[in-house]
Amino acid sequence: MRINTREELEARRAEYAASLKTQRKQILICAGTGCVAGGSLNIFAKMQEILIARGIKCSLVLEKEPHDDSVGLKKSGCHGFCEMGPLLRIEPEGILYVKVKVEDCEEIIEKSIVGDEVIERLVYHDQNGEAYEKQDDIPFYKQQTRVALEDCGRINAESIKEYIAVGGYSAVAKALFDMTPQQIVDEVNEACLRGRGGGGFPTGRKWAQVLAQKEETKYVVCNGDEGDPGAFMDRSMMEGDPHRVIEGMLIAGIATGAHYGYIYVRAEYPLAVERLQTAINKAEEKGLLGENILNSGFDFDLKISQGAGAFVCGEGSALTASIEGNRGMPRVKPPRTVEKGLFEKPTVLNNVETYCNVPPIITKGAEWYKSIGPDNNHGTKAFALTGNVMNTGLIEVPMGTPLRKVIFDIGGGVKGGDFKAVQIGGPSGGCLCISATEDHLDLHLDFDSLKKVGAMIGSGGLVVMNDKSCMVEVARFFMNFTQNESCGKCIPCREGTKRMLELLNDICEGRGTMQHITLLEELASTISATALCGLGKTAASPVVSTMKYFREEYLAHVVDKKCPAGQCKALVTLQIDPELCKGCSKCARLCPVGAISGEVKKPFTIDTSKCIKCGACMEGCNFHAVKEV
């Protein structure tokens, strides 16, 4: 049913909130991509089946006339603690169960839903075996500050009613009725919100530029083409709290006088597309999108545009070209997107996380927002914490949080070795590390501090690497990525990245010389200075930053023909230590090419001419007898 006025919105909010309150218990099952892959939808189905079989009143949606004592069963967005998935949260207690299996469902209902018991074995235990019943007490969550991810994992991701119940669309109402467009722009400017997509450009200034344009048709575009490998913040927000993205875009529309919006979502995120589409349909039904929103006279139409697999489309002008149905290639700027963007019209283009920060700034004000984070870098930042880290997942911390806190206190430390480096900002970013000359662990994660050390916050991917990672190989990996994704329009990027990749391949495969290193440096500076778009300009960053901090590793590859981390296969050979080998024959059975032979109960040997250095023997050996030399 359509919500016609602001008063009606508030009345409905009270009604939905009351309905939510009558649910005696709520079971929130994480339905983010990670937990779904872990089988969380089966758990949802099983829970429903058991509740029905036991005759427990179960509410899948908020009902108009709620039954007291019912149990709310819902699919929530990403809780963030992906390492421990599938996750299940029980409200109102705030209990979190981790690694839940279908077989656990019966016990959960019996003990924690019908009864009020906590099942000890399903709660999170830290490395010291200490148990945490409540989600908010777990160190991983306790040290986070959630603004953009506030509702993610706390409400039903598919329900507009629950979003409204927790205060949703009140920022839109405030923007429509209590503020002028200029005031909205001023508030965002005052809050010093900077673009979360990587550049860190002040959002308020961007909006002001679009507001100043005389054109009648303007657009609001959301960049959901989160292509950086190792980043999934935007995906989680689109999947877990789609209405917040819509609300942020609506406010941008109200502020700049734009009546059309597009959300550009990459093709690899089918669940995000589905949830956003559901959310748009429901918002249209309720009259929160479409004509005459809340009887204010303001119209706003929103569409999803799906990408088709091109990293470069994350660049503004390439993204708009793709929405227009063209090859997604960047163009020369100026004119900038705020002047001539989508369909040659003035366009507000921000990323998902930026829009998610807008509603609380409008409702709570710039002063509140500025209380978080250091000067000129206010607010929070979501990071995807991945790689060799104990607690993989999605986190949100105040800007300026030290790297050490993120990796060790929240991330739980490094997995499988000691901390070596963290790649920040994806293929355009650089690495932060502990090396012979540097120690970045106490560095503050914000736009300005990172800029000083030649790295960037980027979209927020943090890939942790332990001491078994080869930095030359990492640089080669990113160059391979960028080279693959280069759109081919400008020569520096198209040819330059190809040549750089060839040089890196040579180094990793033992053909490197000192000239390779000089040439890499020369190419890096040429590409950075001459490439057309941001992707090209920053393509060399991973190489430049690893060369700066791990020069000795490059030298080891070209001079000694050794890979200190033992990652570059061409530079290592595998051997079995006869002292440690018990002759169990497991390695010979694991070897995919039959390179290992020997007599049972006597030391086995590897035929290096046959060995493909896949490492299967090394991983499989129970006695750590297989060594890289």
Binding site: C82, G309, E324, G325, T392, F477, P592
Partner: protein
């Protein structure tokens, strides 16, 4: 092109109001039906949308997700994003390729059952390394799990074919 195929394409075009700017969405829908973009289909939509064939071809070849070659029944994508890469996704890719006898340049098996591709970050980094089979995510892969998965798909395929024979 047969009438029946034209009808399929016409329906897709109509759903997008014959809009030139929707050409990417139209091609995505076509690919959902055929699992690739047949040349005839591209020529047909170019005519209907009043775009040049070159333009349509240009768009189709620009984006990674479009394929001008038919793909297998099971499309296996191994994620080679950073997180998966540092958790050793290459070993899984090598294992699956060698099991199915495919390579980077010849990604599809002769019986048109399997296509093996790499994909840049699926955003399921928490579960690294991952692969997907027709968009279903398989988490925390190892070469052993990859072998079991291929076995299972092959058996499923055999079972499916028997069932088809009975009908």
């Amino acid at each position: 092109m047969e009438k029946k195929e034209q009808k399929v394409l016409d329906e897709i075009l109509k759903a997008h109001d014959y809009s030139q700017t929707a050409v990417i969405a139209i091609m995505q829908d076509i690919q959902k039906v055929y699992r690739y973009l047949p040349e005839d289909a591209l020529c047909y939509i170019a005519r209907k949308l009043d775009l040049s064939e070159a333009k349509v071809y240009g768009v189709a070849t620009f984006y990674e997700n479009f394929s001008l070659e038919p793909k297998g029944k099971y499309v296996i994508k191994i994620c080679d994003g950073t997180a998966c890469h540092v958790r050793k996704s290459t070993a899984i890719l090598d294992e699956i390729r060698s099991l199915l006898g495919v390579t980077e340049s010849k990604p599809t098996t002769d019986d048109m059952m399997f296509t093996v591709e790499t994909v840049s970050c699926l955003g399921a980094c928490g579960l690294a390394p991952v692969c997907t089979v027709n968009d279903e995510v398989h988490p925390a892969m190892t070469p052993e799990k990859a072998r079991a998965l291929i076995e299972q798909l092959k058996e499923g395929k055999a079972a499916g074919e028997e069932a088809a024979d009975e009908n």
